[in-house]
Amino acid sequence: MHFIYTFLLMFGFWIILSGKFDLFHLTLGVISSGLVALLSHDLLFKDRTQKNRLVEVSRFVQYIPWIMGEIVKATLHVVYLALHPRMKDLIDPKIIRFRTKLKSKVGRVAFANSITLTPGTITIRIVDDEYHVHALSRKVADGLPGEMEERLHRVFRED
C-alpha cells in the first residue's frame, strides 16, 4: 500500500521535473519512480495511521494560511529588531521549557517547526514530550504553547 502511494507521488514529481511527455521518457519515469518506491517506500508514510490521512491533510491545509500570517509577522518582527538602533534593550532572551499534549510524531514535528516560524521563538530540541525553546523576549515566552498547540491539536487529533 505504501509502495503504491509512494509510487504515485514520485510519478507526479517526475512529471513536474521532466516536462517531456513522449513514451520513452514516461517509461523512464515509471522505472525511476518504481525504483525509488522500492528503495524507500517505508520512509514517507511510516508512522501514519491508515484511516484518516486525507482528513488530516485537509485539516492541515486549513492550517497553512494561519501559519503564513505568522511567518509574515515573524519576519517583520525580526526586521524591526535588526534595524532598531537600540536593539539590545529590546530583547531579553531566555530558554524556556514546557510539555506538550500532542501525541503523534507528525504533530510534534509540525509544532516544533511552527514554533521556529513564529515571531521570537525557536525550538532547540524535543526530549520526549518536553520542548526546549529559545525565546527572544519574556512576552513571547509567556505566549507558549498557547494558540498554536490548540490549532495543531485539532489538526492531528486521533479520533
Binding site: 514520485m10 521518457h25 525511476s32
Partner: protein, 339 residues
C-alpha cells in the same frame, strides 16, 4: 559572462580560499571550504558552463564538505604547527612562488575568454556545434562530447573514481569476522538517540532526492547533469539517511557486499557497452552499431541510447563509491558507528 558578477564572486572566492588555509581550526576550515564551493558553483554557472556548475553543486554541497567533516570527526581538529621555520618549508615556498610567477606570466598568452579566433573555437567547437544533433540527436552538446566523442576519456575518469573508492577501502577498512559483522548489522536499531525533527523531515526529503537524482541521470541529454551528478546526489541521499538515523540503518538498506558489487557493476556496464560494440564489429564505444541489437532504432538513436546506458553505469558506480567512501571514512573503517 556578466563581468560585474564575475568580479565580485572571484574576489569572494579568493577571500574564502585565504580564510580556508589560514584558519587554525580544521572544522572551520571545512565549513569555509563549503562556502568556497558554493561560490565556485556560482562562478561557473555565471560563466555559462552549466554542467560544470552542476557537478560542483552536487559534489560541493552534497558530499565534499561532509567528507571533510567526517575526516575531521575521526581525526583531530587542530592544525599541527611547528613554530620554527625549517629549511624544507622554505624550499617549498620558493618552488611554489616560482611556479606561480611562471603561470602568471604564461597566463598573458592565453586567448581571451570566448575568443572566436582561439584554436579551440576555430576547428573543434564549430564541428561539435554543427554536427552533434545530426550525428547523435542529443541536444546537450556537453553530454554528447563527454559520453560519445571522448567516451574513452570519461571511462577512465570513472575508473579513477573507482580507484579512489578502492584506495579508501584498502586503507581504512578494518575487517572483523563475518559472523560478528552480521550480528552487528542485525542488532542495529532505529531511532537511537537521534533527533525527532531532523529525522522526520529528512525521511520526507530522501525519496524526493533520489527521484531527482534519477531524473538528472535520465535527462542528461536535454538539460545539465548526467551520470556523475545524478550518482553523487543519489549517494548523498544515502549519506543523509546515515546522518539522521545511524550507520546500521543504511547498511541494512545497502549492505557492504551490495555496495561493492554495484561499484563494480557500474564500471562494468560502461566497459561492457564498449566491448559489446567491439563484438558487434565496430570500434570500442562506437554506439551506432548497437542499432543491430536494439529493436527499432536507427544508428543515430542508438548513439543516444548508448550514451544513456553508460550514464546509468557511471551513476551506479559513483553512487556506490560515494557511499563506500563515506561509510569507511566516518566510521574509521569498522562500520560500527558513523558521524
Amino acid at each position: 559572462m556578466i563581468w560585474q558578477l564575475d568580479l565580485i564572486i572571484l574576489t569572494l572566492i579568493i577571500l574564502c580560499a585565504f580564510a580556508t588555509i589560514s584558519v587554525q581550526d580544521l572544522l572551520s576550515a571545512a565549513i569555509i571550504f563549503g562556502a568556497y564551493s558554493f561560490l565556485m558553483c556560482l562562478l561557473w554557472t555565471e560563466m555559462g558552463s552549466v554542467d560544470v556548475g552542476f557537478t560542483e553543486a552536487a559534489v560541493g554541497a552534497g558530499v565534499g564538505t561532509v567528507f571533510c567533516i567526517a575526516a575531521v570527526f575521526q581525526t583531530t581538529r587542530k592544525v599541527k604547527v611547528d613554530h620554527q621555520m625549517n629549511p624544507s618549508k622554505f624550499i617549498g615556498l620558493l618552488a611554489a612562488s616560482f611556479i606561480g610567477i611562471v603561470l602568471l606570466i604564461a597566463q598573458g598568452d592565453f586567448p581571451a575568454w570566448a575568443d572566436p579566433d582561439s584554436p579551440a573555437s576555430r576547428y573543434l567547437s564549430p564541428h561539435f556545434i554543427t554536427n552533434t544533433i545530426a550525428e547523435t540527436s542529443v541536444p546537450n552538446i556537453v553530454t554528447s562530447v563527454l559520453a560519445d566523442y571522448r567516451g574513452f576519456d570519461t571511462m577512465f575518469e570513472t575508473a579513477v573514481i573507482f580507484a579512489a573508492g578502492v584506495a579508501v577501502f584498502a586503507i581504512l577498512r578494518r575487517g572483523r569476522g563475518k559472523e560478528e559483522n552480521d550480528q552487528a548489522v542485525a542488532a542495529g536499531t532505529e531511532d537511537v538517540n537521534q533527533d525527532l525533527i531532523i529525522q522526520w523531515i529528512c525521511r520526507q526529503l530522501v525519496p524526493f532526492m533520489q527521484l531527482f537524482a534519477l531524473y538528472v541521470v535520465a535527462h542528461g541529454h536535454h538539460s545539465p547533469g548526467g551520470g556523475f551528478q545524478g550518482g553523487v546526489i543519489l549517494g548523498a541521499s544515502f549519506i543523509l539517511l546515515q546522518l539522521t538515523y545511524d550507520l546500521k540503518t543504511v547498511l541494512q538498506r545497502m549492505s557492504e557486499r551490495w555496495n561493492v558489487l554495484l561499484g563494480n557493476l557500474g564500471v562494468f556496464i560502461y566497459a561492457g557497452i564498449g566491448l559489446l560494440c567491439l563484438v558487434l564489429g565496430a570500434n570500442f564505444l562506437d554506439y551506432s552499431v548497437l542499432s543491430k541489437i536494439l529493436p527499432a532504432t536507427s544508428p543515430i538513436m542508438a548513439r543516444s541510447h548508448g550514451m544513456l546506458g553508460i550514464e546509468i553505469g557511471v551513476a551506479i558506480a559513483v553512487m556506490a563509491i560515494m557511499i563506500g567512501i563515506y561509510t569507511n571514512l566516518s566510521s574509521h573503517g569498522d562500520h560500527e558507528q558513523g558521524l
